[in-house]
Structure formats: structure tokens, C-alpha cells
């Protein structure tokens, strides 16, 4: 069997149609879109078409889309940009956010801003009332993600938006995991700022965008030659941006069909795991979780050793924490959901995508139980038990 990729929340392969759209821009369409001559202008046209496509997906105007180098930059731009424009103030976020949000907020906290972190319930969902309670007169921004990357939890963004709107506070959502997978019309969601990335939806790495509602007071993060209407300077990653435009159109076209296919695959996976492996816990509430992601905590064994063992069988998954730090701390997301430390350490994330098949899941379900058994036999935690 070919290698099996079950780490689509980390990144996805570039779709062949998307790649084909990029190639001319690595060839003769090499002009700088800021250039007034024809080499520049012929590029600019296609480049602006990509902006229109992103805007359409959001139900926004192209003038409200700023291209960036990815999801992390978009998050940094949204949060630091509104913070620096305000000068000082209080920011509300949640413990389940991606480090791109959490670490940015904690950097700002070191620079004189204030931060509050709302808790989540055991399925990882933010309670809008908690956001309301955390509001202060000097609150400038609420940042709550749309879809969580580790567990797949979908947050009640619309309800939170109603609260921020009433309070007159900006609302940013990190939609890096949801853009192209769930509807993300900005007026339905009610958000002022929304982060996106191409590489989660079969586009290239190193390109993303930030939606900025008209009138939002925001400082630029990357300053210079005044590209993107002064909001994001630097020669644009034209090939990447055009590819992003293509990726979203393709993703939207198959979105609903993929959703139902993933729902079926999730059922097979969850059923197989719980039936075949003793003491495995599936994290999150499936009714509030996007079906591509299954987070499973396996008692008595550690996640990386599970990951490596699966990798030896040609199956790619991720541990609970998507973080590259090599830190051995258990996932902040799982811990904030109240999962025991040692279980959090033994968590794997299976994230499926458009290339995932039933045969792949079946194969995983063959291979995985003996791996767990072998590692449990090695573990001092399970030694006393007959597992």
C-alpha cells in the first residue's frame, strides 16, 4: 500500500490544478505587479482576480482582503495591528487558540497590553457568556478561532459576534482551519477580522490573507513600499496568491460533497478505534466538531512513540500538539479541555482530507491496535495492568 497521509490539518498537498495555475508565474509572467509596464500589469490583472475569488468566498469586497505570507502572519497582523492602532487596552482570547494567536497576545501582554483567557468546556467549546463576562470598558479586541486545529471543534462565532458588536469591540476569528471547509461569509459570522491560509486547502505554503472590515482601525504589521493599499508592503508572492485564488474556488466546489464523505470516514475511524483498542478516548463532541479531525487519547503510552510507529508503517499522523517547538509539554488545547496530563501526552490527531479513502482508514485500523499493544507492554504505567 502507498503511504497514507492523515495529517491534513498540518498541511495539504497542492492540488494539481492549483499547481498548473502557478507555473506561468514562475515562468514568463514574472513581472512585479507594482510595475507600470506591461510585464507588471499583465500580472496584476490575474493577481486581482485571485483577490476577487477570496472576497467572493467571504461575501466581502476585494478591497477588504489583504494578502499575507500565511495564517500566522494574518493572526499577528489582526491582533497586533488593532492593538497598536488603539495604543493600549485589553484583549480577550481563549486557551484553545493556535499559538499564532496565543503567543502574539502574550507578547502584547509583555508590552503593556492586558489579556484575559476564557475557558472552554470539556468538549473544547467557548461559552459566549464567558466572553461577555470578560469584557471590560478598555477591551479593544476579542479573538476566538472558528475551527480548532487539534480537535476540530467549531466555536459559536456568530453568538460571540453579537456580544462584541453590542460592546463595540473588534472581533477577530482565526479561520485558518475552516476557510474553504465551512461557510465563512463574514456578515453571517459577524466578524471584523478573519485569518486564512492557502496551504490548508490544497494551495501552496507561504500565502494567506486577512479580511479587514471596512473602517477597522488597524496598523500595518509589515511596512514599506505601500503594496496592498499600504496595509501589507513587500513584493507580492504572485504565484502563491493566484494559486490561493484557484484553491478556494476548487475547495468551495467540492465542499459539501467532501463534508459528507468525511462524516462517513469519521464514523468508520471512531468506531474502529473504540472497538479495537481498549481505553481509548475520542476528544471533543462530534456534533460540534468538523468531521475531518479525530483526536484520540490512548492511555499508558506516549504520542510520539505512537506517531513514529505508525510512520514506520507509512501512516502519517500528528500528536496532540501541532507545535514545532519540540516542547514536551502536553497540548494546551487538551489540557484546557480538562484532559488528564498523561492522557494528553498519549493523544494522536488523525486529520483526513480529500485524498483519504475508506481503504486507508481500514488499513490504519489493522495496523494501529498491535502498535498500541506493543508500546503498552513497554510502558511502566500499564505494567501493573493486564491491558
Amino acid at each position: 500500500m502507498d503511504r497514507i497521509y492523515l495529517d491534513h490539518n498540518a498541511t495539504t498537498p497542492v492540488r494539481p490544478e492549483v499547481r498548473d495555475r502557478m507555473l506561468p508565474f514562475l515562468g514568463e509572467l514574472f513581472g512585479n505587479p507594482s510595475s507600470a509596464h506591461s510585464f507588471g500589469q499583465e500580472v496584476k490583472v490575474q493577481f486581482e482576480e485571485a483577490r476577487q475569488r477570496i472576497a467572493d468566498q467571504l461575501g466581502a469586497s476585494p478591497a477588504q482582503i489583504v494578502f499575507t505570507s500565511g495564517g500566522t502572519e494574518s493572526d499577528n497582523y489582526a491582533i497586533k495591528g488593532t492593538a497598536f492602532a488603539a495604543g493600549k487596552g485589553h484583549i480577550i482570547t481563549a486557551m484553545v487558540e493556535h499559538p499564532a494567536v496565543l503567543q502574539t497576545v502574550s507578547w502584547l501582554a509583555k508590552k503593556g497590553f492586558d489579556a484575559s483567557y476564557v475557558q472552554v468546556d470539556s468538549s473544547g467549546v467557548v461559552d459566549p457568556d464567558e466572553v461577555k463576562k470578560a469584557l471590560r470598558p478598555d477591551t479593544i479586541l476579542v479573538s476566538i478561532m472558528h475551527m480548532n486545529n487539534e480537535v476540530g471543534t467549531i466555536q459559536p462565532v456568530e453568538e460571540i459576534a453579537a456580544i462584541t458588536k453590542e460592546a463595540g469591540v473588534y472581533f477577530h476569528t482565526d479561520a485558518v482551519q475552516s476557510f474553504g471547509k465551512l461557510p465563512t461569509k463574514v456578515d453571517d459570522l459577524g466578524v471584523d477580522l478573519l485569518s486564512m491560509a492557502a496551504h490548508k486547502i490544497y494551495g501552496p505554503k507561504g500565502v494567506g490573507a486577512l479580511y479587514i472590515r471596512k473602517g477597522t482601525r488597524i496598523d500595518p504589521l509589515i511596512i514599506g513600499g505601500a503594496q496592498e493599499k499600504r496595509r501589507r508592503s513587500g513584493t507580492e508572492n504572485v504565484a502563491g496568491i493566484v494559486a490561493f485564488g484557484e484553491a478556494i474556488v476548487q475547495a468551495e466546489a467540492e465542499r459539501e460533497q467532501l463534508y459528507s464523505r468525511l462524516t462517513g470516514l469519521r464514523e468508520t475511524l471512531v468506531k474502529g478505534l473504540t472497538e479495537r483498542i481498549p481505553e481509548v478516548i475520542i476528544n471533543g463532541d462530534p456534533s460540534k466538531t468538523f468531521p475531518s479531525t479525530v483526536s484520540a487519547s490512548v492511555s499508558h503510552v506516549e504520542g510520539e512513540s505512537l506517531l513514529l510507529s505508525l510512520d514506520m508503517e507509512g501512516i502519517a499522523v500528528s500528536t496532540g500538539s501541532a507545535c514545532s517547538s519540540g516542547s514536551l509539554e502536553p497540548s494546551h488545547v487538551l489540557v484546557s479541555m480538562g484532559i488528564e496530563t498523561v492522557l494528553a501526552q498519549g493523544t494522536l490527531r488523525f486529520s483526513m482530507g480529500r485524498g483519504t479513502t475508506k481503504a486507508q482508514i481500514d488499513h490504519l485500523l489493522e495496523v494501529f491496535p498491535p502498535i498500541v499493544e506493543r508500546l503498552r507492554r513497554m510502558s511502566p504505567l500499564s505494567a501493573s495492568k493486564a491491558c
Partner: protein, 125 residues
């Protein structure tokens, strides 16, 4: 293609001396679950020589590999020789570990020393 050396992967795939010694002369343990690694080392000692050594490990790839490697390094050695084995020596014997793993998951020699200490305490040596 792996973040680990071939030797680490070999010890991860085929760990030497896994298990428990029921009537161990010395038992050592380091780590705790919240830091991600727990290692337990069991010793059988005769005339100051390690006659048998086994390990149990909850932890990542390098934790399992260093545990396995340390048992191989000290099997049949005197306690004094075993005490001279450092975490660094274990990592070197495995052709190195990734930087992020050097400090966190490289504790097998500590578990061994803990087991020797336990043996000495129990046997007044």
C-alpha cells in the same frame, strides 16, 4: 527519513531488554507523566557485576531508544563502570539526538544510576 539517527530508530524498533525483573536487586525511576517521559530500570547484580538489566518506558522515541541503549551498554559491566555512563555517552552511542530531545528525553543514565543507588542502599554497599 526520520528526525532520529538510524541507531535510535533501530533501538526504537527493536528495543533490547524490555520488561520487568520480578525479584530485582535494584529499581530506578525518573521522570513523570506531565513532562512526557517515565523510565524505570530493573537490575540483577552479582559480585558488583550487572547480571541482568531491563527497562520499562513511557515516552517518545528517544526515551525508548536511550533506555534500550543504556541497558545494552551496562549489561555485564561492574557497578562502577555503569556509574560512569552518562546521558551524554548514551546519546553519543546512538549517534546523537535532535537538539530538542537532548535535555528532555535523555534521562536513561539517570534512571540507571537511580537503580544502582537503590541497590546500594538496599544492600548497604
Amino acid at each position: 527519513m526520520s528526525m532520529y539517527s538510524e541507531k535510535v530508530m533501530d533501538h526504537f524498533k527493536n528495543p533490547r531488554n524490555v520488561g520487568e525483573i520480578e525479584d530485582a536487586d535494584g529499581v530506578g525511576e525518573v521522570g513523570n507523566a506531565s513532562c512526557g517521559d517515565i523510565m524505570k530500570i530493573y537490575l540483577k547484580v552479582k559480585d558488583d557485576v550487572i547480571e541482568d538489566v531491563k527497562f520499562q518506558t513511557f515516552g517518545c522515541g528517544s526515551a525508548i531508544a536511550t533506555s534500550s541503549m543504556v541497558t545494552e551498554m551496562v549489561m555485564g559491566k561492574t557497578l562502577e563502570e555503569a556509574e560512569a555512563v552518562t546521558n551524554k555517552a548514551v546519546a553519543e552511542a546512538l549517534d546523537g539526538l535532535p537538539p530538542t530531545k537532548m535535555h528532555c528525553s535523555n534521562l536513561a543514565a539517570d534512571a540507571l544510576h537511580d537503580a544502582i543507588k537503590n541497590y546500594r542502599e538496599k544492600h548497604n554497599k
